[in-house]
């Protein structure tokens, strides 16, 4: 019993409800969000330390003992993800101060933002599969609000598709829960794990496992990602940062959790699916990132490569692979948030999102340029930056398990990551300023949106935007991305504890059911 566990969910929810009553008081909204963000980081850090010293923490909501009541469980994996998500959420909040604009701020942007965080933290902490569905919905409905907020033509074109795909996957989620309940008669994850282990996984349970895989893969962008590049290209960059860093990771977390805890007993069947999907995601994501020449698409496809990599780590099924999954997901949350923040700053500095229409920015924005360069190296996995440790562990897990081809695919996808990001760096920051006389009328029209944000500094004072916060946000995340690599040994202690739980579901079951 530990009441601390409910705070990461309760605090953003209280903030969101509070902010709804003060929609025109922007300064108040920002201040409350700022303080709440710091408080949430502190709470998450406290949970991590508590789990470090005292093992897995549980909270039986309403005092109902599992498996009858809903239980919140913080193992090291969930606690670390909550910590990383709260840090990234805080950084994106700072970036929102700089970029989101008064119009959106007055229309419940911060309230939706905090409701989204409620869903994210809740999904990480819950120990009940139907409760996971509920928190998914909290998160998704907030994301519907965020993706449509602003109502531009592009958003109105992408948002209905985004809603459709998520409603469809949520429907399948409920169907999968129904089948699971019929098959084993419980919804508590630990209890599910125990009963499925007793009954033996096979036949109908494998079908249910694949149904869950499809549901979560749709949300995570694992292979079933056809909706992602379009949908993530519609909202403003602060929202993209939130989506790219957190939403896909929640889907991935759900995959990792279900396939290490609930369905770990028939790896030869389930892992074959995950392996294939991971390989396809990395290959297609890599090709997409390498092929496109506009920044939003390159960044969106880079999100996919990260998703594929984590799924590969899960499919290795080894202890090293699990440690790597934990490490890489932490890195991915921070660095994908940073990637979109930097991308947004780059585009607003250049006034365009097309690489062909950029160049020479290193002279006017050297800090941005070099941060982008370091980020590219970190995402590729160059030591000593943070991506390296996760990738090494995952690939080592893959080689231990004899998955040579997939390890090569994973390494090749890292090369494509490097290529795609260095392409941005080379063309946007090096070279000469582009000759803007040749622009087509069409393109100019298309880019008016960005040109508007390009002249941001001039109208910043009247719209209340604070461009300085963008820099602070980027530096905060940059320090963490670099620091996580440099302090890899310390982080590894935590990630190892998380990996141990993933590798041995017995620890989780024991902590929840207390047997």
């Amino acid at each position: 019993m530990n009441n601390l566990l409910v705070l990461p969910v309760l605090l953003p929810m209280a903030i969101a409800v509070f902010l709804m009553f003060f929609r025109r008081k922007i300064a108040l909204q920002r201040t409350v969000g700022f303080i709440g963000g710091i408080a949430n980081i502190a709470i998450a850090a406290a949970i991590v330390l508590r789990v470090r010293s005292g093992g897995i923490q549980t909270l039986e909501l309403g005092g109902w003992a599992p498996p009858y009541g809903i239980v919140f469980v913080a193992d090291m994996f969930a606690a670390l993800l909550v910590l990383a998500a709260s840090i990234t959420g805080f950084a994106v909040l700072l970036y929102s101060f700089a970029s989101i604009g008064r119009e959106r701020e007055e229309h419940y942007y911060y309230a939706s933002f905090h409701f989204l965080l409620v869903g994210v933290y809740g999904s990480f902490m819950t120990g009940d599969i139907f409760n996971l569905f509920v928190f998914f919905e909290v998160m998704l409905i907030s994301s519907y609000a965020l993706i449509t907020l602003g109502g531009s033509k592009k958003q109105m074109r992408e948002a209905p598709k985004y809603l459709l795909i998520n409603i469809l996957s949520s429907t399948l989620f409920v169907a999968a829960v129904a089948y699971l309940y019929a098959a084993v008669g419980t919804l508590n994850m630990a209890h599910l794990s125990q009963r499925i282990a007793e009954a033996g996984q096979g036949g109908v349970l494998n079908v249910i496992a694949v149904l869950f895989l499809i549901v979560f893969a749709l949300k995570a962008g694992l292979f079933l990602f056809f909706w992602l590049p379009g949908a993530y290209g519609a909202p403003p960059f602060a929202v993209r940062a939130l989506f790219g860093a957190l939403l896909t990771k929640v889907g991935l977390y759900a995959i990792v959790r279900t396939f290490t805890l609930i369905f770990p007993n028939d790896p030869s069947f389930t892992n074959a699916w995950i392996v294939g999907m991971a390989a396809a995601t990395m290959i297609l994501g890599g090709i997409g990132a390498a092929a496109y020449r506009d920044i939003p698409r390159i960044l969106n496809y880079n999100v996919l490569i990260g998703v594929g990599f984590v799924a590969f780590g899960l499919a290795t099924g080894t202890r090293d692979g699990m440690d790597g999954v934990v490490f890489y997901m932490l890195h991915d949350i921070l660095s994908k948030g940073l990637m979109f923040v930097l991308g947004g700053m780059l585009i607003s500095a250049a006034g365009s999102d097309k690489l062909d229409r950029m160049g020479g920015l290193i002279r006017s924005r050297p800090g941005l340029g070099w941060m982008f360069f370091v980020l590219a190296l970190a995402l590729t996995g160059i030591p000593p930056l943070s991506g390296f440790v996760g990738k090494v562990l995952i690939v080592r897990g893959g080689l231990e398990n004899g998955m040579l081809t997939l390890s090569l695919v994973a390494l090749a996808s890292s090369l494509l990551t490097l290529y795609s990001l260095i392409k941005i760096f080379r063309e946007a920051f090096w070279g000469t300023e582009p000759d803007l006389d040749e622009e087509d009328a069409d393109e100019a029209e298309e880019e008016s949106e960005y040109a508007e944000s390009g002249s941001r500094s001039s109208r910043a004072s009247e719209s209340g935007e604070r461009p300085a916060f963008a820099g602070i946000s980027a530096v905060l995340l940059m320090l963490l991305v670099v620091g996580m690599g440099l302090a890899a040994n310390g982080v590894y202690g935590f990630a190892g504890q998380a990996g141990a739980t993933l590798d041995n579901p017995g620890l989780y079951i024991e902590a929840v059911l207390k047997e």
Partner: protein, 115 residues
């Protein structure tokens, strides 16, 4: 009894999927709505169709109905109700902005540019 439910669920899924595959956004929304109804019936059926007393301690004769699926369905209905309402509003707004209710078509010509 289960086989009637199975046919009902299958029919709802069939119509729902057909509607989702059409181009008109309005039909798509109706399709998602039918799909969620199908899923709720599925949930009810999968948990077992049986009669029994209310699961209250000390009341009733011992044979009681499983309350959990009903709680799940109630939660899910509320969620799908909210999402469907939101989807309708979004569809109307998208129609106003784009001048078409096709989910994946090009924007209509001659309409005012977006804000």
């Amino acid at each position: 009894m289960e086989w009637i439910m199975a046919i009902a669920v299958g029919t709802l899924f069939m119509i729902g999927i057909y509607l989702i595959l059409t181009k008109s956004l309005l039909r798509v929304i109706l399709g998602t709505s039918l799909l969620t109804h199908g899923v709720h019936l599925l949930l009810l059926t999968m948990a077992g169709l049986k009669r029994g007393d209310a699961p209250v301690l000390g009341g009733g004769s011992g044979a009681y109905a499983d309350p959990l699926p009903q709680a799940l369905i109630l939660t899910s209905i509320v969620i799908s109700f909210g999402v469907t309402a939101l989807y309708f509003v979004l569809a109307y707004r998208a129609y106003q902005t784009r001048g078409t209710d096709e989910i994946d078509g090009s924007d209509a010509e001659g309409k005012e540019a977006d804000s």
